[in-house]
Amino acid sequence: MSRQAQTEDSVYMNVIPMVDIMFLLLLFFMLTADFGGRELEEVLLSRGASIKEDKQDEAKDRVNINVFHTTTVKDQGTVECPDYDAKKPCRNDSHWNIAIRGKRYGSQELESKAKDLARDFKKFKQNMSDAQAADTKIPTELRVMIRADMRVPFKFVQVCQEKLATAGIYKLEYGAAEPDKK
């Protein structure tokens, strides 16, 4: 009587749970990916204890203006700025940029852009006539968030405020970060 040794059983690896986990991970990372315009520039925001949560549905139709420093040599950029790298205010005006959706603007261009944004919003979202939309004295409900680096001199933010006010945009929000939890 011989017992035949068990023939070799192939060892099958059940990949179904692995594929399930991969789908879940993929779903997680896809849902948390943020390709919003505000992510285009690295900005060190000021911290504030009284900030309100920035909900995604409130951010719909909102325009983000980023006020940021040109990337420094330390971060593989093009300008030397030891003050900025040391997290101190940078006083070199040429290092600072104002951008909307990745495009940079000077003072006149920003005013023109703000008027375009206000006009389009009034025409398409607030259903105003062309004449009303073009009239900068009629304020718009368009919300604008200014995300300014904490080291930027106020005059850059002031330019943004001034140009937005000229275009009839008065609903301004300022980006801030939560304080460090100690």
Binding site: S10, Y12, V15, V19, M22, L25, L26, F29, M30, T32, D34, L45, S46, R47, G48, A49, S50, I51, K52, E53, D54, P89, R91, D93, K103, R104, Y105, G106, S107, E109, L110, S112, K113, P139, M145, M150, R151, V152, P153, F154, K155, F156, V157, Q158, V159, Q161, E162, L164, A165, T166, I169, Y170, K171, L172, E173, Y174, G175, A176, A177, E178
Partner: protein
């Protein structure tokens, strides 16, 4: 007979479906999203709407000091610091500044003036962080009306040529 691999049709599954490329694509996508993922600081916002009806102005401070709480921020270049003033008094300490705002607000309410605005008047060289700090103190004290002294500035940023005027 040896069992078939993934591509072999079985009696139960007449349609062979090769899932190996599917898993490869999923791996690639997963790798992409993992590499582009980063933990970021939770961002919030502070609202400080501009006054609709006032527009641009070079408004001088009111003579009636109870009608507003005007906080002036100036950059002291010689000493490399920000000077925060209410009237002629300097308030370098956040707690003192907050208490001042609270007292002024309560005084104004007591005099029947209702909620008076906190007007923040920074000069152009003050770091933005200092301005946010004053805004934060204002909000922490429960004062909702906050405005910037919106005056025309002489400062101009050179145009970049990236915007097409319509």
């Amino acid at each position: 007979m040896a069992g078939g691999g993934g591509g072999e049709a079985s009696a139960d599954n007449p349609l062979p479906l090769n899932v190996v490329p599917l898993i490869d694509v999923i791996f690639c996508l997963l790798l992409f999203f993992m590499c582009s993922f980063h933990f970021k600081t939770l961002e919030g916002k502070m609202e400080a709407w501009l006054p609709q009806d006032k527009g641009m102005s070079n408004a001088k401070p009111q003579t009636d000091i109870l009608g507003e709480i005007r906080i002036v921020l100036e950059w002291d270049k010689a000493n490399n610091r920000v000077v925060r003033r209410f009237g002629r008094t300097e308030y370098p300490n956040d707690e003192d500044l907050g208490e001042l705002m609270r007292k002024q607000s309560d005084m104004a309410k007591g005099n029947g003036k209702g909620d008076i605005p906190v007007i923040i008047q920074p000069d152009g060289e003050v770091p933005w962080d200092e301005v946010i700090r004053v805004m934060d103190i204002t909000r922490q004290k429960g004062l909702q009306k906050m405005e910037f002294n919106l005056a025309r500035s002489e400062f101009k940023i050179p145009d970049r040529g990236e915007h097409q005027t319509r």
